[in-house]
């Protein structure tokens, strides 16, 4: 009994020694070592402690976890390959395998999950201390798998306000029409600077991001864009050209049809005289007439 106790205590304090030993074994066998090899080398090591040591090395990024026909393999990790880890199902299987081997007490907390949005909707697990690549996370518009529509709306409104006030200032300046129009334009660089200085975004936005927001304003019919040639050195020019945006007024008022209840009616196609829904008994019309 006393022997066992002593052994345990020695082993616990030698956790780092265990890790170092495993690392040495890995270096000895560059193609990878199995669990069995470690066990043979340190027979007194309990599976739990072995697992803990391996966990630590894996989390530190010093060991690679692989699988071959006979079982799990641990290999010294190559530093360069640690940059972009797009997880795959293989890794997950290995994870569970190792946890199983470590017995019931195998902790689930040894790899901290970072769920990452991936185009194919697969859950990707990565080691916590790595920064996921932009294409995997979806860019500035996604945070924690959710498309940030409120954020996009806020940016949309702010950009529009900026362009609108610029156009108003130009209009009120009462100068010649050409000067008025030119001063109502803002380059995408100017808008980007304004938004960055507003500080409403937690994430850094690039000029491309701002341009996608400005494009949605074009599709809203509130803004128009022209492209002009610019010298290669001027701030904000890309490939010798710059995009200019300016706020515009709508060209017609809401058309006559939509000022009637029929223009907005959800059951328009079902309505006919003598039917259940007809102009004579239409409740939308009654409401609209009494308005």
């Amino acid at each position: 009994m006393a022997e066992v106790k002593v052994k345990k205590e020695t082993n616990l304090s030698d956790a780092t020694e265990v890790e170092n030993r495993i690392k040495q074994l890995c270096q000895q066998f560059p193609h990878g070592i199995t669990d069995q090899v470690i066990q043979n080398d340190m027979p007194q090591l309990e599976p739990q402690q072995r697992a803990m040591a391996i966990n630590k090395l894996l989390s530190l990024g010093q060991l690679d976890l692989l699988r071959n026909s006979s079982g799990l393999l641990y290999r010294m990790k190559d530093v360069q390959s640690a940059s972009k880890m797009k997880g795959s199902d293989n890794q997950e299987k290995l994870v569970y395998q190792v946890i199983e081997d470590a017995g019931n007490k195998g902790s689930k907390t040894w790899i901290i999950h970072m769920p990452v949005r991936c185009a194919s909707k697969k859950k990707v697990y990565m080691l916590y201390n790595l920064q996921p690549d932009r294409s995997v996370t979806g860019g500035a518009w996604y945070s924690d798998q959710d498309f940030e529509s409120e954020f996009v709306e806020v940016l949309n409104q702010q950009c529009f306000k900026f362009l609108q006030s610029k156009a108003e200032v130009a209009r009120d300046s009462k100068q010649s029409p050409m000067v008025q129009r030119n001063s109502s334009f803002a380059t995408s660089h100017e808008v980007w600077k304004y938004i960055s200085e507003l500080g409403i975004s937690k994430v850094d936005l690039s000029m491309d991001d701002i341009e996608t927001i400005l494009n949605t304003l074009i599709y809203d019919g509130k803004v128009e864009m022209t492209v002009i040639a610019a010298k290669e050195g001027t701030v904000g020019s890309v490939d010798g050209q710059m995009k200019l945006y300016r706020g515009v007024n709508p060209v017609i008022q809401p058309t006559g049809l939509v000022r009637t209840p029929c223009g907005l009616c959800p059951v328009f196609d079902d309505c006919h005289e003598g039917g259940e829904i007809s102009p004579s008994n239409c409740i939308y019309m009654t409401e609209w007439l009494d308005f």
């Binding site: 050409m178 060209v251 049809l257 029929c262 223009g263 328009f268």
Partner: protein
């Protein structure tokens, strides 16, 4: 002739000419060209009434007749077209335009001619002068020369035109309603008016709807320029359009080129802008993405044209976008505009460009698709059209969508008219009562009754009944003005569709 058009024409005929004319008119619309016997047989109306109805329709230009298709000697055939009947909807707008351009005199001339269909000049002038005299103070009367000068001006600017001579076949049928002498004209002139009626019979005048339409189109373009740019630019465009009023054919896509010098000289004197500033405005008009004005050359300081077809197409597109925005929300409108710009897009691209979450974008696209505002184009990668190996692209086709919306407009107007008739019918008893009481009041006042008697009669209508009448009056006015508003949309869409049809 769609079902909606026929329904609307029937309602308009009923309101303006009565049920018999409505029956005959709709029968002709649905059945094409028919001779008198067929009409009588199929509608079951007596010969006399059918003759009178056809009279009315021909008088107003809604029905044309020609010799039968089976060769000379076969009975005359009558044919109606719904275009002319649908114009009835626009009568208030014509009258209002005449008022703004030519004052009360012009307004009354146009009103008389619209009511009568066609009339001789002398008849029109006399009737209008009499009406104006009635509304003037005692002892004064309207000068005929004033009315006739207004008439001349209307003819000069082509708002009135002569009726085409009735060159029909020799009427074998005794029931042919050729009526060169329209009803309503005094058969024998009286008084001072003698000299002007000589040689006037048989020369009838009618309202030239096409000219009014050109005027409305110009107005629409000018107000669009004013909305998008500013007042001065719209004045420049107005000047250009005024200069090309008589030189441009109605179906042309753009006006004849006008030099900047000419434009400068023709600007109204209140707009005292220097020449270089005018050039700047013209350059801005050209650069505008809406392409209202185009440059056609460099001589004379620059030759400029107004692109009417392009402007109409842009206005029609703005109308479609407005309908989608009001009906489905601004995000659906964003998707709609995006598809109009980019022509064909996959679902994923729509989500990315519009920056709308995938689920909502899908929902909106399917709603628009179910309402036929957006179409799906399949492009297969393999010959077997397997869904997993096919591109599905969303697209918007402006012309078919405009046609569909036009039919919706017709249905809407018909709904509004039906509702108006229904509301009047519901309160028929009340309306009749109030009319009787008004008649009693008028006769009592004329015979010099005492105030107590008048108040006694007035009190026959109770307060809640008065309220009901007031509410009814408001409803009817609202429905009327709504009809006019929808007619504006109808005009834009019809102009665009006709303009596209004539250019393609």
């Amino acid at each position: 002739m769609t079902a909606q058009e026929v329904r609307l024409c029937g309602l308009l005929l009923r309101e303006h000419f009565g049920e018999v004319v409505e029956k005959v008119g709709t029968h002709l619309l649905k059945g094409g060209a028919q001779n008198l016997r067929t009409i009588i047989h199929e509608t079951g109306i007596s010969l006399d009434l059918v003759k009178k109805s056809l009279c009315v329709l021909v008088q107003h230009g809604a029905c044309v007749f020609r010799s039968g298709r089976k060769g000379a000697g076969s009975p005359t055939e009558y044919q109606t077209c719904c275009d002319r009947i649908l114009r009835i909807l626009r009568y208030p707008r014509y009258i209002y335009t005449a008022k703004t351009l030519y004052g009360d005199t012009g307004e009354l001339i146009i009103e008389e001619l619209l009511q009568r269909g066609h009339m001789t000049m002398s008849g029109t002038i006399k009737t209008v002068a009499d009406r104006l005299t009635q509304n003037m103070e005692e002892g004064r009367s309207m000068d005929y020369s004033e009315v006739s000068s207004a008439f001349f001006r209307l003819v000069e600017t082509h708002f009135l035109q002569r009726c085409p001579p009735l060159a029909g076949a020799e009427p074998k049928d005794s029931a042919t309603p050729a009526a060169p002498a329209p009803p309503g004209t005094p058969a024998a002139p009286v008084g001072v008016w003698n000299m002007l009626t000589h040689g006037d019979e048989g020369i009838c005048w009618q309202v030239n709807f096409e000219r009014f339409h050109l005027h409305f189109r110009d107005q629409a373009i000018i107000s669009a320029v004013a909305n998008k740019l500013d007042q001065t630019s719209s004045e420049i465009v107005r000047t250009m359009l005024r200069m090309s009023e008589v030189t441009t054919s109605p179906t042309a896509t753009c006006t004849k080129p006008l030099s900047a010098n000419e434009i400068f000289r023709s600007l109204p004197t209140s707009y005292n802008i220097p020449r270089p500033i005018l050039d700047q405005y013209l350059t801005l008009l050209i650069d505008d993405p809406m392409e209202f004005v185009g440059k056609a050359g460099e001589s004379g300081g620059g030759m400029y044209v107004v692109n009417m077809h392009r402007a109409l197409a842009n206005l029609a597109r703005a109308t479609l976008e407005s309908v989608v925005q009001e009906r489905f929300g601004s995000r659906s409108a964003r998707i709609f505009r995006l598809l109009l710009r980019k022509r064909h897009l996959e679902q994923k691209q729509v989500e990315d460009f519009a920056m709308i979450p995938a689920k909502e974008a899908k929902d909106m696209l399917y709603t628009l698709l179910s309402q036929n505002l957006v179409q799906l184009q399949e492009i297969p990668k393999t010959p077997d059209y397997a869904p997993s190996r096919t591109f599905y692209l969303y697209t918007v086709n402006q012309l078919p969508t405009a046609r569909m919306l036009l039919q919706n407009c017709y249905k809407t107007v018909a709904n509004l008219v039906e509702r108006r008739l229904f509301e009047s019918k519901e309160s028929k008893r009340l309306l009749e009562k109030s009319q009787r009481i008004e008649a009693i009041l008028a006769s009592l006042q004329a015979s010099g009754a005492e105030p107590e008697q008048l108040t006694e009669v007035e009190e026959m209508i109770t307060a809640p009944e008065k309220q009901q009448l007031e509410a009814l009056r408001l409803h009817i006015n609202k429905l009327d003005s709504a009809e006019n508003q929808v007619d504006e949309t109808i005009f834009l869409l019809e102009s665009y569709i006709n303009s596209t049809a004539s250019t393609s």
